[in-house]
Structures are given as structure tokens and as C-alpha cells.
């Protein structure tokens, strides 16, 4: 996927190039910050456990619940493990599960979405039936509360990584199916779709070669947002004990373990993983929006003054007439 390629390239580029890209893309400071955090998260997912100053899975009863200090920047948890180290190591588990699960959801959901959208209300009965059938099935899946559904799934199948990935992928799949279906539904009536038919493309070729690539920008946004929420979901499952169990460093079980001690005044074991979780989800959201905007053909800010002006001018004059007619 081009998107995935795009990110490291942007990050790996030299400082000067990055600066130029940032200028050209007209990123806001918030977006720049999000990209930096994003790179940090990617880095941690790859190398986190290696750079952790303390062992991340070895309990040390002597160091239980130490408050933040120079030795232990964020303190230690109930098992005496360094929270900072565990925080550095945790993204590997969460991000890995979320990314793989989201990838699966896209791989299944997007093609089904193309088919459902393209054939919905189609003149030929069979294909229309397929489209409708997919959608009704979706309604059933989506009628379950996402979280409960994932919990039940894991409860039945057992809490291992494969099952958690499967559960997270399964509950997110409808999101992509619906999104792609919606996009395709409106793209299929655009003249270029008809043009594709005129030159001799088959239905499937039109759907996958011509329409799907045009659904990419919103899809990328959704992928990124969904990864964020998949991390949240993974953490949530672990929090209620249906996910990754300690001592494996994972944000959900860290928060869960630490939560008990909130009332007794030891706030640090769950606060810091909580903040980290929030930042991660937020970052994926912002990065998704930004990449989606940049992917939009012509979505980069228009530089030609003429074009900008014409649109603006017409708008303003229309506003004026509107204003006139709205006075009541």
C-alpha cells in the first residue's frame, strides 16, 4: 500500500527535505507534532523492548510501587517493575495487534465493500442480491456492541494473540466495508466510471481498478483512526482480563493493575500508561486525517490564485443573495 511506503520515506528524508515537504504540505504545528509522535510510536513498536533501561518482565518485590524518581522516572508498579521501561516496551504488543488486525479488516472489508457498493440496486438480479446480502449480514454483526462482542469472542476461543487479533479484526471489518461501499456507491455514478465501461472494462475491473483507488483517501484516514481505536480495544480487552495477561508489557493490563492503587494514593502505575494510550489514539487520528488530505488529488492547497478567486467570488456573491433571501 502506497501509504505505508509514504510514511517511512517522509521520516527517513534528510532534515532539509523534510522541511521542504512540511512547507509544501502546509502542515500545521499540531500535524507536525503528530507525525513526530507517530514516528516515535513506530520506532518503539520496533525497538522498544531493546532500549528499555530495566528488564520489562521481571518482578522485583523489593521495589514495589516506588513513586517517580531519578532512578525510576515514572515510578514502579505493584510487581516492582520500572513503568518507564514497560511503557517503552508496551507499544510493540498493542501496535502490533492493532496493525495486523486492522490490516485483516481492510483486506476483507474493502473488497466486500466494492462489491456491495457497485452492485447495490444493480439491474441484474443476482449481483444486486449479493450486494444486499452482504449489507444485511453487516447489520447483524454491527448490531452487537463492539466491545462485548470482542470479549465474548475471546472468552470462547481463549485469550491468545491470534484470537485477540481475530476478534479485533472481525469487529472492525464492517467499518471498512461500509466506508468503501459508501464511496463506491457515489463514485460509480461519476462520468469516469461510465467512461471505464465504455472502453470495455468489466464490472469487477471498474470496481477494483477505477473506483477503489479513488476511495483511497478516506480509506487511509479510516485505517489510521481504526488502528488507534484497535489499540484502545486491545488495551480494553486486556484491562478486563480478556486480552494480553501480565507480565507481558501492555497498556491495558498496566492500567488495570495500577487502577487498584489509585484510591490508596499510588497514581503513577495507571496514570502514565493511560496518558500514553490517549496520545497514541489521538496521534493515529491526526496522522490519518493529514495523510488523507495529502492523498486527495488536487487536495493540496490550491496555489493558483485565479482558481481560488473564482470559487471564492462565486461563493461570496451567492452568500449575498442567500443572505437577502434568508432575512425573514
Amino acid at each position: 500500500m502506497d501509504v505505508v511506503e509514504e510514511r517511512p520515506r517522509r521520516g527517513a528524508a534528510g532534515l532539509a527535505t523534510t522541511a521542504r515537504l512540511v512547507r509544501e504540505a502546509r502542515l500545521s504545528p499540531l500535524e507536525v507534532l503528530a507525525f513526530i509522535i507517530f514516528l516515535v510510536i513506530v520506532f518503539l513498536a520496533l525497538f522498544g523492548p531493546r532500549i528499555a533501561p530495566y528488564p520489562t518482565e521481571t518482578a522485583n518485590p523489593l521495589l514495589r510501587l516506588l513513586p517517580p524518581s531519578w532512578a525510576h522516572l515514572l515510578g514502579t508498579d505493584v510487581n516492582g517493575m520500572d513503568i518507564w521501561s514497560r511503557l517503552l516496551a508496551a507499544p510493540r504488543t498493542d501496535v502490533f495487534i492493532a496493525v495486523v488486525a486492522t490490516g485483516l479488516s481492510v483486506l476483507v472489508g474493502a473488497p466486500l465493500g466494492v462489491i456491495a457498493g457497485y452492485f447495490e440496486g444493480n439491474r441484474r438480479r443476482l449481483s444486486s442480491f449479493v450486494g444486499e446480502g452482504i449489507l444485511r449480514l453487516l447489520d447483524v454483526v454491527q448490531a452487537f456492541p463492539v466491545f462485548i462482542f470482542a470479549m465474548v469472542l475471546v472468552a470462547i476461543r481463549g485469550a491468545n494473540v491470534v484470537n485477540i487479533v481475530a476478534a479485533v479484526a472481525f469487529v472492525n471489518m464492517p467499518v471498512f466495508l461500509r466506508l468503501v461501499r459508501g464511496e463506491v456507491l457515489q463514485l460509480r455514478d461519476r462520468p469516469f466510471a461510465e467512461a471505464a465501461r465504455v472502453v470495455g472494462n468489466s464490472d469487477l475491473q471498474i470496481g477494483f481498478k477505477h473506483l477503489l483507488p479513488n476511495a483511497l483517501p478516506p480509506l487511509v484516514v479510516q485505517i489510521s483512526v481504526t488502528v488507534g481505536f484497535a489499540i484502545l480495544l486491545t488495551a480494553g480487552l486486556s484491562f478486563v482480563g480478556a486480552g494480553i495477561a501480565p507480565p507481558t508489557p501492555e497498556l491495558g493490563n498496566m492500567i488495570s493493575e495500577g487502577a487498584k492503587f489509585m484510591i490508596t494514593g499510588q497514581w503513577w502505575p495507571s496514570l502514565f500508561p493511560g496518558i500514553a494510550l490517549g496520545i497514541i489514539v489521538f496521534t493515529f487520528g491526526v496522522v490519518g486525517e493529514t495523510v488523507g488530505r495529502l492523498l486527495q488529488p488536487g487536495g493540496r492547497p490550491v496555489r493558483e490564485r485565479g482558481a481560488e478567486l473564482n470559487v471564492g467570488a462565486q461563493q461570496a456573491v451567492a452568500d449575498m443573495v442567500q443572505e437577502k433571501s434568508e432575512v425573514r
Partner: protein, 274 residues
Amino acid sequence: MSQPILQLEGVTVETTDGGPAPLLEDISLELEVGDVIGVVGEAGAGKTLLVRTVLQLLPENLRLTRGRVRLKGTDLGTLSEAELRRLRGTELAPILPDAKSQLNPLLRVGDMMTAVLRTREKVSRKEARERAAVLLQTVGITDPTRRLEAYPHELSGGMAQRVCIALALMHSPSVIIADEPTAGLDVTVQRQVMDLMAGLVRARDAAQLIVTRDLGIVAHYCGRVAVMRGGRIVEMAPTIELFDSPRHPHTRELLKAARREGVVRRSQTVAERA
């Protein structure tokens, strides 16, 4: 010689953020009572910007750096926003392309018209409605009382443009600024709308500025024509003179394109088949 109603004196518009060239440069025009002046040019010639300048509706980043727009002698640049707003609905009436999208889709034609009327004049609702009906009749809408009840989406494009013209005429404007008034309309509807506007301008002692890219409209409905390109008027002349002996190369180019000169017409094949 009467005083011009609308006067543009060396109007120059530039960007405030230091853009290279002025977007409008040294534009001068005068409209007297009964004048219909056409402004032609291709996309990007600055026609729409000119309309906005006259209406004093420049976007934030643009400014009138030189020149003046005078309406009946008053410099529009010296007026407050409130005064301008009142002027735009009354003395200066804009008629714009794609009429349908400019009508509020949630309001019936009648409600829209009475509302506009009652913002400026103190009349009862009933009287306003009657006047709206009369106005619709003037713009050639048959069965006006029924049309007052219609929502914009129930109107055809031509009908919507007529309603917009009716709205523009509501307060007897002295200058009508028509920006591509028939864009998107069929030829027969275009003909009806143009005939209508021409008749109304004549009957009401108004003046009209028609901004268009259609030389056909200009040829038949304008007394004088200004040809714009790149934010300047490159040529201005009485219509017949301009079409007979265009001076500027761009005018010639436009005329050539419109007339399709030099195109050999296709030989006939139908006779051979018969």
C-alpha cells in the same frame, strides 16, 4: 450629456499579500441610463472579479489599490458596510449564473420574495405577496400565484433565473449587473431570458452590465463591448465596430473562434444515399 449612473475610474485590484501582478488593472467604464455594456473574456480574464469589485465584495486578501467605483456620483469605497448592503439590494442588482443554487431551497418563492420586499419597505404581508405576484408576471412567469407556492427545486433552470431576475428587480435598481446570466440554460430559454432583461432595462430606465463569455449575447444585446484579458480591458468599442474591425489580436482570436472561420463545412452525403 447625462451623468453616468455607474462609473469605474482606473480600477486596479491587487492582492494584499504581495502577489506579483495586479488582478485587475486600470479598468474604466461608464454606464449611462439605457446603456447595456458587455464584458467578454475567457475563463480567468477577471470578469467575475470585476463584478465583485463593482459590488464591493472583494475577498479578504484583495484590495482596490487605485481607482474608484462611483454609483450616481457616490464613491462606493467611502460607504459603510451597512450602506453598501442596502445599496446592493436596491440600486445595484446582481443577477448571477446557476440561479437555482442561489435560491434558498427551504423557502417557497413567495416567502422569499415577500421577505426581501419587507426588509426594505414597510408593507403588509398581503400587499407584499400581491406585488410579488405582479413581479413574477413581469418576468414572464405564467400562473404567478401558483408559482409563489413553489420551492426552488420545483422550478426549471429558466424559471429559477426568472425568479432571480424578479428578486433583483424588486426595488427598481438603476444598475443591473448580470454575470453569465444564462449559463447552463437552453438556447430557447436563454433567448427568452435575454429578451426579458433587455425589455426590463429599457422599460425601467436602468443600465446593465452583462459579463459573459458568449459573443452571441454581446452581439445582440449590448451597445458597447469591453474585451477583457488578464485583468485588463484590451479593447472597448461600440458593438458593431468591434465586430466589424477588431483591433486587438485577442479580440480577433475570440471572434475567429466564435465564428469558426476557416472551417470547411462537410460535404453532403445524404443526397448520395437517397
